[in-house]
């Protein structure tokens, strides 16, 4: 049984990839590095300061989820082109216990841990495209894209 929720999604068109990096997320220090890497690429993609901050914050949330709830995993990040748009795509993968109820997990204020319960739902609002796939026992994959305006 597998569940997926898609919000937005690139409006068709081909996506070309420019620069791909993969970073492990196994310690708190890796979360810090993820933020730095994403900020660097956001600057490369010529995002505004607000968009940089938003995508960095989303990456920080998702990386911490990967670490805390997924038991560690990795982030693959690249700069993507679609038509004339340029953006940053980040994919967070873990092979943890998975999320049994995605709708619940995406509800503001709900948490299975001790956080504020805004990480997943909040980061969905911080990016342009947000996709999550998870099934119990098979880990979780979250894919986000932020387009520069």
């Amino acid at each position: 049984m597998s569940a997926a929720r898609w919000a937005g999604g690139p409006a068709g068109g081909e996506v070309t990839v420019e620069q791909t990096e993969r970073h492990p997320i196994t310690t708190e220090a890796d979360v810090v590095r993820v933020r730095q890497v994403v900020r660097g690429l956001a600057v490369t993609a010529k995002m505004s300061l607000v968009d940089q901050t938003k995508v960095v914050t989303a990456a920080s949330e998702l990386a911490r989820n990967t670490l805390v709830y997924g038991g560690g995993g990795s982030m693959t990040v690249d700069i993507v082109h679609s038509g004339r748009r340029r953006g940053l795509r980040a994919v967070f993968v873990d092979s943890g216990p998975g999320i049994p109820d995605l709708d619940l997990a995406l509800t503001d204020g709900w948490t299975s841990g001790s956080g504020l319960g805004l990480g997943l739902s909040g980061s969905r609002r911080l990016v342009d495209d947000f996709a999550i796939e998870s099934s119990p026992g098979a880990g979780t994959t979250v894919r986000v894209v932020k387009w520069s305006r």
């Binding site: 708190e28 810090v32 933020r35 900020r39 300061l49 607000v50 940089q52 901050t53 938003k54 960095v56 914050t57 920080s60 949330e61 911490r64 503001d108 956080g115 504020l116 805004l118 990480g119 739902s121 909040g122 980061s123 609002r125 911080l126």
Partner: protein, 282 residues
């Protein structure tokens, strides 16, 4: 471990001490260039060589044995200093490995030269690995030290006015740092009898839910101590991100700048700010 005949080597190695040392210093000096004076290098390598011969004289080639205690101590000291002085791993390792090249001529003149040289070479490899291990340990220690220092450095509690404290936060706000900030702030509140605390986040690059949660906890702890807490330094991009994330700061007072927060704290204490001389004004 190999308990070979280390003492076989002692004779020729002591006899040719000067020659070996000169070649060794030459080889190491070429890599380290001007980073170490020749006199210093000569002293270091001379000490090492003496300790090495001392250990071999007792028989074994087992680096872990007691006879090599002095050599191990010297190597640990050397690699520790190198790590602290910012030498690269290569520059550090070459100090030991260059000894192979330096002693090669000594073995060439002996019977069964190849066999013996291989054994000696293995022994030097052991020394090299030991040096490298201690080098890495020293480097790790430096890193831990630095992050501890950073933790301390980055969380000063500043008295802005009688009864008004400020904590300027810079960098990443993780759990460990929040703990330090909270403790320092609460202590300072008691010590100075202050009624206002301003937490300034101008230097925090991103406020995610964890940072927000840490901030909220610090503010709540301050309020429990009877202090008015203000969060200042909320830049436009942070404000927009916090709103998108859906974080609510509740009835906690926030200000865009530290100056505004100070002005508010002073007003609450009944101070009035007034310019009495317009000559210097614009």
């Amino acid at each position: 471990m190999d308990v070979g005949h280390g003492d076989d080597w002692v004779g020729p190695l002591s006899a040719e001490r000067d020659g070996v040392l000169t070649r060794w210093i030459g080889l190491v000096g070429k890599v380290l260039r001007s980073r170490l004076s020749e006199a210093e290098l000569a002293r270091e390598l001379g000490d090492l060589y003496t300790a090495l011969l001392g250990g071999l004289r007792e028989g074994g080639t087992d680096l872990d044995s007691e006879s090599f205690g002095e050599l191990r101590a010297l190597l640990a000291e050397l690699s520790g200093t190198r790590a602290r002085q910012g030498f690269t791993p290569r520059e550090t390792a070459i100090t030991v490995f260059a000894l192979k090249g330096a002693v090669a001529p000594v073995f060439e003149e002996r019977d069964a030269a190849y066999h013996e040289y291989t054994r000696f070479s293995d022994f030097i490899d052991e020394l090299g690995l030991f040096t490298f291990e201690t080098y890495a340990q020293a480097r790790d220690a430096v890193i831990v030290e630095q992050s501890d220092q950073l933790l301390e450095l980055s969380t000063p509690v500043i008295k802005l006015w009688d009864g008004v404290l400020a904590v300027p936060l810079v960098g990443t706000l993780d759990s460990a740092r929040t703990q330090v900030v909270m403790e320092k702030l609460l202590e300072a509140l008691v010590e100075t009898g202050s009624r206002h605390a301003i937490i300034d986040i101008t230097g925090v690059p991103a406020v995610d839910t964890q940072v927000a949660q840490h901030l909220l906890k610090t503010v709540m702890a301050g309020q429990l101590m009877g202090a008015d807490c203000i969060i200042s330094g909320i830049r436009p991009q942070i404000a927009q991100t916090v709103v998108s994330l859906g974080i609510e700061f509740g009835d906690i007072i926030t200000k865009a700048t530290l100056a505004e927060a100070l002005a508010l704290a002073l007003r609450r204490d009944g101070f009035q700010l007034r310019r009495t001389n317009t000559a210097g004004g614009r």
